[in-house]
C-alpha cells in the first residue's frame, strides 16, 4: 500500500465529540415552540377492505389538532424506493398488519394515544396470503394488482445443462434463511414544520434524505426545492432506515396544523412496521471436477417479500449475481422469483440478499470439500477470483481483487490465534 498523508491511519471521527458529550441531536431530541406530537392509527388485520372509518370522536377530543386520513393528501399517495406501491395512508385496502390508516396530531403524547383509541374502523377481511407457495397459486387473493409475482430475474451464463456431464462430483442442497430485524437501537423518529418561507422542513432519523425529500414533495404536490430534509444524528440503520418512516406522516400533519409535529415511534411500532430481511429459499446444484474446480452452478431462488416492494427489486437483482460467491465458474444459472404476501414488508438489510446467497454458496463449497475430502480453505483457493476472472454476468475483473490475500491472511492469523481450530479444518 502507498504511503498516505492522511488515509490508512486513525483520526478521531468527525462526529465523535458530540456523541461522547451527549450533545448530538437525534430526532427525538428536537423540541420546537408550539410543537405538536403525532401518532398513527394502524391496521390490526393483515388483509382487508375498510368498510367504515370514523374519525369524528378523535377529532372532538380537546387538545387534538387534527386527524387525517388519505383524503387529506394533496399530492400522490403511493411511495417506495423502486416501485411506488405503498400508500402513505391506506386508500383502497389494508395489505399488512400495521398499515397506516389515519394520523393524529395533538398537544401531548398522551392525547395522541387517547385520540388513536377513539378512532373506529370496520374491516371487510380478506384471506391473508402468508406463504410464498400460497401467493403463487392461481386462486390466491392478489395483494397488488392481478399477480402476486413481485419480481423475477434470470441469470444464464455458459451452458449449465451440458456442463453436468463433465463434473466428477455434484452436490445438491436446499438452503433457507429466515426473516430478521435490524434492531437499530434508536427507534424511528422525526419532525416536520413549515418555515417562514413556506418550505416544508423535515428532520428525521434516515439513511436516505434526498429520497425522503422527493417523496415528501410528491405527497404534498410541491416542487422538490420546496422541501428540505435534514438528517438528524441517526442511531443506526443497517438498511432499516432507507424506507420512509415518519417523514410523510409528520409533513402531512405539519401542513394541516401549520405547527411543528414530532413523531417518535415506540420500539414495538418501529420494529413492527420497518422493513425486514428477506427470507429466502435456494435450491442449489453445484458440480466440480475431482480436483475441486467448479464447473456449474444452478440455483432456484424464491422469496416471500411481504406486503410491499421496498428494496426487493434490488435484493433480487443482487443475489443472483453473487450466487456463486467469489469463485470462478464457467456455467451458471440462477432463476429467482420474489412474491408479494401479506407478511411484514421486507426491504434493505445490510447485504441486500448477499448474506442469503452466501449461506448457499458457502454451504455448497463445504459440501464439495467434504465430498472430495478437501480442506475447505484449499477448495476456495483453487477457485478464488483473481484479476482476469470473469463473473457470471460476463464482466471481467481487472483490478483490486484481494480475495486470495484474505484467504491467506485469515489462515495465517488463525494459525497464530486458534491453531487447533485451523487444524480441525483438515480433511480426516
Amino acid at each position: 500500500m502507498k504511503e498516505y498523508a492522511v488515509l490508512a491511519q486513525d483520526h478521531v471521527k468527525v462526529d465523535a465529540l458530540e456523541k461522547v458529550m451527549g450533545t448530538a441531536k437525534y430526532a427525538a431530541d428536537y423540541q420546537m415552540p408550539n410543537m405538536l406530537y403525532g401518532g398513527v392509527f394502524r391496521s390490526i388485520v393483515p388483509h382487508a377492505y375498510i368498510k367504515k372509518l370514523d374519525l369524528e370522536k378523535a377529532r372532538a377530543l380537546p387538545g387534538v389538532a387534527c386527524v387525517l386520513d388519505h383524503t387529506a393528501i394533496p399530492g400522490k399517495n403511493r411511495f417506495g424506493i423502486i416501485f411506488k406501491d405503498e400508500p402513505c395512508l391506506v386508500d383502497d385496502k389494508v395489505r399488512r398488519y400495521g398499515d397506516a390508516i389515519a394520523v393524529v396530531a395533538a398537544e401531548t403524547q398522551e392525547l395522541v394515544q387517547e385520540a388513536l383509541d377513539l378512532i373506529e374502523v370496520e374491516y371487510e377481511e380478506l384471506e391473508a396470503v402468508s406463504t410464498f407457495e400460497r401467493a403463487m397459486e392461481e386462486d390466491s387473493p392478489k395483494v397488488h394488482g392481478d399477480t402476486n409475482v413481485n419480481v423475477t430475474k434470470h441469470l444464464e451464463y455458459g451452458n449449465v445443462d451440458e456442463a453436468w456431464e463433465t463434473c466428477d462430483v455434484i452436490v445438491e442442497n436446499t438452503y433457507s434463511t429466515h426473516i430478521l430485524s435490524h434492531m437499530f437501537i434508536e427507534p424511528d423518529a422525526g419532525l416536520a414544520y413549515l418555515d417562514e418561507q413556506g418550505i416544508m422542513n423535515v428532520i428525521a432519523s434516515t439513511q436516505n434524505p434526498h429520497y425522503d425529500r422527493n417523496e415528501v414533495a410528491a405527497l404534498l404536490g410541491v416542487p422538490q426545492n420546496r422541501v428540505r430534509v435534514k438528517q438528524a444524528t441517526t442511531g443506526g440503520g443497517f438498511g432499516g432506515k432507507l424506507d420512509i418512516s415518519v417523514q410523510l406522516h409528520c409533513a402531512l400533519l405539519a401542513l394541516y396544523t401549520k405547527r411543528p409535529v414530532k413523531m417518535v415511534r415506540s420500539r414495538t411500532e418501529s420494529t413492527m412496521v420497518s422493513s425486514k430481511r428477506h427470507p429466502m429459499t435456494m435450491k442449489c446444484k453445484t458440480g466440480a471436477t475431482k480436483d475441486g474446480k467448479l464447473v456449474a452452478v444452478d440455483c432456484y431462488m424464491t422469496c416471500d417479500a411481504g406486503a410491499y416492494s421496498s428494496y426487493a427489486p434490488a435484493v433480487i437483482g443482487r443475489a443472483p449475481v453473487h450466487i456463486v460467491g467469489p469463485y470462478d465458474c464457467p456455467n451458471v444459472r440462477c432463476h429467482a422469483v420474489f412474491a408479494y404476501t401479506n407478511n411484514p414488508m421486507c426491504g434493505a438489510f445490510r447485504g441486500f440478499g448477499v448474506p442469503q446467497a452466501a449461506v448457499c454458496h458457502e454451504g455448497q463449497m463445504n459440501a464439495l470439500a467434504k465430498a472430495l475430502h478437501m480442506d475447505p480453505l484449499e477448495i476456495r483457493m483453487i477457485n478464488a477470483h483473481h484479476v482476469g476472472s470473469v463473473i457470471p454476468t460476463g464482466q471481467e475483473l481487472t483490478e483490486s481483487v484481494g480475495f486470495m490475500d484474505t484467504l491467506k491472511q485469515a489462515r495465517d492469523k488463525a494459525a497464530e490465534v486458534m491453531p487447533e481450530a485451523l487444524e480441525r479444518l483438515k480433511p480426516e
Binding site: 500500500m1 502507498k2 498516505y4 498523508a5 490508512a8 486513525d10 468527525v14 399488512r96 400495521g98 402468508s130 434470470h154 444464464e156 442442497n173 438452503y175 433457507s176 434463511t177 429466515h178 430478521l180 430485524s181 434492531m183 434516515t206 439513511q207 436516505n208 434524505p209 434526498h210 425529500r213 428540505r228 435534514k230 441517526t234 443506526g236 440503520g237 420500539r267 413492527m272 437483482g317 449475481v321 453473487h322 467469489p326 411484514p344 441486500f352 448477499v354 448474506p355 452466501a358 458457502e362 454451504g363 476456495r380 454476468t393 460476463g394 464482466q395 483490478e399 483490486s400 481483487v401 484481494g402 480475495f403 484474505t406 484467504l407 491472511q409 492469523k413 486458534m418 481450530a421 479444518l425
Partner: protein, 333 residues
C-alpha cells in the same frame, strides 16, 4: 457434552447499486485561512462517511484532517448523495469529494505554479505545504498560497460527482457490468456447542477484509467487529416470529428479539487487507455490508463441524441443535 467446531465463510460484494446509475456529489471550498468546507449528501449513520469525506478531502488537497469541516445530508445545502446503502458511500461519495477537491485544486495549482515557477504537473500538495516533486527545496506553505490566491482574486471551489462505471443488465440473462468494483472477505470462526442444551458459545473469529485502501484502520476494524456480532447473531439468536393469524410480528421488542451482548460476541481478530486499484478514491472500497456477511456461513459451518450435522437452514437455535444431535446419536446406534 461440549464439542468444538470450525467454519470458513467467504464472500464477495459488488459495491453500489446493481447495474444501475447511482451517482453522488460533493461541494468543496478552501477558505482563506486554509480551513475547508466539504458538503456531501451522504447520510452518516455512524459508519463514518463524513469522516471518510474529511479524510479524502485532506488527502486530495494536501491539508490536515483537522482542517476539514464536513456538512452532510441536509438537502437544502448538500447535493444528491444517494442512499447510505450498498456499501457505496466510501466509493461513490469518496470519489465525488476527490473530484470536487481536484476541481478546487485547479486554481490552487495555477497559483502555486506562478508563485513557485514550477510546472503544475510537478507540484505536490501534502501536509499543508506545496512543493516541487523535482526539487523539494522549492516550496511554500498553504497559508502563503491562500494569501496569493486572495491577492489574485481567485477562489478554491469545486463541485464534483461520481457515477460508477456500470451497465444496465440484459433482462434476458443478466449479462453486463453490475458493479465497478468488488470487496472480498474470509472469516474463520470457532464455536463450542453444548449437545445437551444446544447452546452455542462463540469463541474466536478471524475476519479478513479486502477494502482496497483503508480510509481509517479503526473504522474498518469497527465495521468488521460489529458485522461479526450481527452475523453470528443472525445464525444463533435472532429471528422474527410472525403470528399465523394476524401476520403481526410477535417479538418486536429487544427482550424477545435477541441481539448479542458484550458477553455473547466472539473474540474478533479483524484483518484489514489492501489491494491495488484505481476505481475507488485512492483505491478504497466499501466494507459496511461485507463486514457482516462471511461470519454468517462461517457460523453455520462451525456448528456443522462441531456436531457432524448438515444444517442448511437458519436460524440454528438450541432446540434445533438438541434435536439434530439426538437424531445423529440415534442413527449412529
Amino acid at each position: 457434552m461440549k464439542r468444538r467446531g470450525t467454519g470458513v465463510g467467504c464472500m464477495f460484494y459488488g459495491v453500489g447499486n446493481t447495474g444501475l446509475p447511482n451517482p453522488a456529489a460533493a461541494f468543496v471550498q478552501v477558505l482563506g485561512d486554509t480551513s475547508v468546507h466539504v458538503t456531501v449528501g451522504a447520510a452518516d449513520i455512524g459508519q463514518g462517511s463524513s469522516t471518510m469525506a474529511a479524510s479524502v478531502a485532506a488527502e486530495t488537497l494536501g491539508l490536515n484532517y483537522e482542517d476539514i469541516h464536513v456538512v452532510w445530508a441536509d438537502t437544502m445545502y448538500a447535493p444528491e448523495g444517494g442512499a447510505t446503502s450498498a456499501s457505496r458511500q466510501t466509493f461513490i461519495t469518496g470519489n465525488a469529494v476527490k473530484n470536487a477537491c481536484t476541481q478546487a485544486l485547479g486554481e490552487l495549482k495555477r497559483t502555486a505554479s506562478e508563485e513557485l515557477n514550477v510546472p503544475e504537473e510537478d507540484l505536490i500538495f501534502r501536509d499543508r505545504e506545496i512543493y516541487s516533486g523535482k526539487d523539494d527545496s522549492i516550496r511554500m506553505t498553504y497559508p502563503a498560497l491562500m494569501a496569493a490566491m486572495g491577492k489574485k482574486g481567485r477562489l478554491a471551489v469545486g463541485a464534483g460527482y461520481y457515477n460508477p462505471k456500470t451497465t444496465y443488465l440484459d433482462p434476458k440473462d443478466m449479462s453486463g457490468v453490475p458493479y465497478e468494483l468488488y470487496s472480498y472477505a474470509t472469516c474463520i470462526l470457532e464455536v463450542e456447542v453444548d449437545t445437551d442444551t444446544g447452546e452455542v458459545t462463540l469463541l474466536k473469529a478471524v475476519s479478513a477484509h479486502d477494502v482496497g485502501t483503508p480510509i481509517g484502520i479503526k473504522m474498518v476494524e469497527g465495521q468488521i467487529e460489529g458485522g461479526t456480532a450481527m452475523g453470528t447473531g443472525f445464525v444463533i439468536s435472532e429471528k422474527i416470529d410472525i403470528d399465523p393469524k394476524t401476520l403481526a410480528i410477535k417479538n418486536p421488542t429487544l427482550s424477545k428479539y435477541i441481539i448479542e451482548t458484550s458477553m455473547d460476541v466472539p473474540v474478533v481478530y479483524p484483518i484489514v487487507v489492501s489491494s491495488e486499484g484505481e476505481a475507488g478514491p485512492f483505491g478504497a472500497k466499501g466494507v459496511g455490508e461485507p463486514a457482516l456477511i462471511p461470519s454468517i456461513p462461517a457460523t453455520v459451518a462451525a456448528i456443522n463441524d462441531a456436531l457432524g450435522t448438515d444444517f442448511t437452514s437458519t436460524p440454528i437455535f438450541p432446540a434445533d441443535i438438541v434435536k439434530a444431535w439426538k437424531e445423529r446419536e440415534a442413527a449412529a446406534k
